[in-house]
Symmetry: C2
Subunit: 483 residues, 2 copies
């Protein structure tokens, strides 16, 4: 989902009354970022509070490549990483993940081995369908074992776009919340649904209900579901004891537009890129009785802050033995303070850009290769900013491209290198980057090796369902990451 | 000002708390259009309820050219046109225009000859400055006579961007409203300030207060002023008797970006074009006690509807002796009804495009000429949609380019000509266009002839101020309209 997909963020069809209401009752973050322009690394960053380049969710197979956890990935979340739910356990929290895990699907990466107490959902994204011969369909787990597979037991009709997955995930959330409220135990719910990822789906009751086609229908269903979750908290009388945060893991995938792609509002390009459209996200915090209603914050925020903020809410401190990139947002949320901190835009192993205040400096620019572009793969459809949305990897380390995101949110007008403004802004930014690079210790890259043998052929529990498939012989290779 | 310049419409710096509050208390129109992608024709359409091609605010000097009323224009609003204030007079309204008139500056076009009772403002836009030799500075009138000139008596500091014009226009509005409330006379106030037109200015108290630079400062000042006007109505106890509508006369002029240009949100291009960015406008109706708060309307609306809606509010009927293009929006505003009506996108003498429902068909495409474009004049900076943002005038009459503005608000993905959707949507649209063209009676074009002798050399009242200038010899020529 993109920054521009919510009514509060300017989507012209304004189809998100519940999220808009959530914003009206809570606080809207306008300058909130994901840690990576695509799924797995973002989610790893959210749960570890650390940049993907630190927690291992990147590749060194080639320079500045987007990488994630497809079915044949060998890597996953290292045991050495401390995940938010592992830490929250110490404060008595019961932790549940509903939906897409995406931090590795091999046994050692199972979410219940990394601090979650419960899981209902899939280890990988739903896209496919696979044929269960060359490629197995993605399994859906309940806790330790699979209970079925997408397309077989959890239907997604690619023709009509109908699937009731979001409804199933919603019900699971409501039930978990009820259970926790009844048992009076504090809880952390990571509601990581995989709508609006292509192929986009929505439940029957939402199909055809938006101006935007299937994508808008899916947004409407998410909006409705968030509304139901908030309403549920209120009905149970625990809304003032429950902190809720809504955000996305990357910008709208414009490559799926117009039928299955969302909106990044006035920002440049989308998913897969380190332009604003790829990484600036819708973000709303809600906590009635604590957060002043109707707030708007320009605090630079990151999904990694949800790690630190959650720990703070639970009365815990972040681990002191490692670099944590997230910050505690509570002063921004509760007291309207602005904490000075940079945002780093990484693509794989490369820091492509950095934002300090309203300035963003690009050290590298790349949308995708000419080869891909010539085949119609376009991360910036209809947009072309000369020297910025480049189709070759362009290094600007010696003279970064600098934009003022206030006057120029669309990254169209680089500041003149000769201007005073460029000079003093870059002085400040250079110091930030220098410090960042000097202290950077990259983690062991987890997304380098692929092997068909590790796919979800025979997940735990498959034997009870007669759904075990025979894996091929192991043949590990360097994964191919084209962009 | 553009669609995307208000917080409610998704501007990322959310600098319009008062307009957002106005929307929260009133109704937001998301599909509201001006009648032309630039100033004079839009304003003529607003006041007459008629398309510029009917009321004469267009040119036939060349095909599909944008034309307006610079100082040397010979034409203006014809006496045969009936303006909103002329009609409102019959219902006892006192009518005032504050700010930019722009319907002709020669004596016969004076606003007080066309229904207004009072005027404080200028006949033309403030841009210049002129030197009072080759070109006179624009006069500022109070009612029948000039009281000074821009840059001389009404300072605009082009270096700092400081000018207190909006404050002067605000005070004038507050005073007029107080006077009318005291005299218990119904009133029509046309608050036609000329901020945010380039060169952009703001008062000292607003300079440097926005994230967006001078343009954002100007928006903040307008926002603050609207807030003060609404507050004034409430304090005087007449808010429930006063209908207020906020909108703009064209999309943000991206040619002035990034320093002096605004935002058209997710829409294509800007001012001067018939793409959405050029003609879709922010629009908010406010009438406490009558309009249900927090409404959102997808009614296709037009500035011309303000003519018909205002007449309806005053208990009057639109003139029956001519074609009126505006419709009464009250059913949409008060009862949430949707009235089926098309939107026509004209550029000069050509109907470039039409919107019916969520479909928009382009019969002609043009941004501007290669010649202008090569000189850096760009109405679509950073945007390039092949075959759509064309630099030659392209006719598509036989096979219009069709867009679905729900799925594709940015006009990036023309529907396939071979699709069923194209076939049935175009069938409906063709019928609408055929009827429109069959009954179209163009007015006498007013924007064909230019003559330096008609400039504001010696406006009425200049002699009292010693500010009369000697006009050159009359030398009427065809005006040159490059785009």
């Amino acid at each position: 989902m993109g920054w521009g997909d919510l009514g509060s963020f300017g989507e012209p069809s304004k189809e998100t009354p519940h999220l808009d209401q959530m914003a009206a009752e809570g606080i809207l973050f306008l300058d909130f970022y994901t840690a990576n322009p695509l799924c797995s690394p973002s989610r790893a960053a959210l749960l570890t509070g650390r940049l993907p380049v630190r927690n291992g969710f990147y590749t060194t197979n080639a320079h500045a490549r987007n990488a994630y956890t497809p079915q044949d990935i060998v890597g996953g979340i290292p045991d050495s990483e401390l995940l938010l739910p592992e830490l929250l356990k110490k404060a008595g929290y019961v932790n549940k993940i509903i939906g897409k895990w995406h931090l590795g699907h091999r046994p050692q990466f199972h979410p219940l081995k990394h601090g979650f107490d419960e899981w209902f959902g899939s280890p990988n994204c739903h896209f496919g369908p696979f044929d269960n011969r060359a490629l197995p369909n993605i399994p859906v787990y309940r806790d330790w074992e699979m209970i079925g597979r997408y397309y077989e037991d959890f239907k997604i009709d690619l023709k009509t776009g109908e699937a009731n997955l979001t409804q199933i995930y919603l019900q699971e959330a409501l039930d978990f919340i009820s259970k926790q409220q009844a048992s009076q135990q504090p809880f952390f719910l990571y509601w990581a649904i995989d709508a609006t990822h292509a192929p986009v789906y929505a439940s029957k009751q939402f199909l055809g209900t938006s101006q935007r086609g299937l994508y808008g229908d899916a947004v409407r269903e998410i909006d409705d579901s968030v509304g139901k979750i908030l309403e549920h908290l209120q009905k149970l009388g625990i809304s003032e004891d429950t902190f809720v945060f809504f955000t996305s893991d990357n910008g709208a995938a414009l490559i799926s537009a117009p039928k299955q792609g969302g909106s990044n509002g006035p920002f440049l390009c989308g998913k897969q890129t380190t332009f604003e459209g790829g990484m600036r996200e819708p973000a709303i915090a809600w906590w009635p009785g604590h957060i002043p209603a109707g707030g708007v914050s320009h605090q630079l925020g990151s999904v990694m802050d949800l790690f630190s903020t959650s720990l703070s809410l639970a009365g815990l401190r972040p681990p002191g033995d490692r670099q944590i990139d997230g910050i505690d947002l509570l002063p921004a949320i509760l007291q309207g303070k602005i904490i000075d901190r940079p945002i780093f835009y990484y693509r794989g192993n490369e820091m492509m850009a950095v934002r300090v205040g309203l300035y963003k400096a690009h050290y590298w620019t790349w949308s995708n290769s000419w080869e891909e572009y010539s085949k119609g793969i376009d991360f910036c459809p209809g947009q072309n900013v000369s020297g910025v949305t480049t189709h070759t990897q362009e290094e600007h380390t010696n003279l970064p491209l600098l934009f003022h995101l206030g006057r120029d949110p669309g990254e169209k007008y680089p500041l003149s290198f000769a201007s005073d403004e460029y000079q003093w802004a870059m002085e400040r930014i250079s110091a930030v980057v220098q410090q960042h690079k000097a202290t950077m210790v990259p983690g062991e890259p987890q997304l380098n090796v692929c092997d068909k043998a590790v796919m979800n052929w025979s997940p735990p529990g498959c034997e009870k369902l007669g759904k075990c498939l025979k894996p091929p012989k192991s043949d590990p290779k360097k994964c191919f990451w084209p962009h």
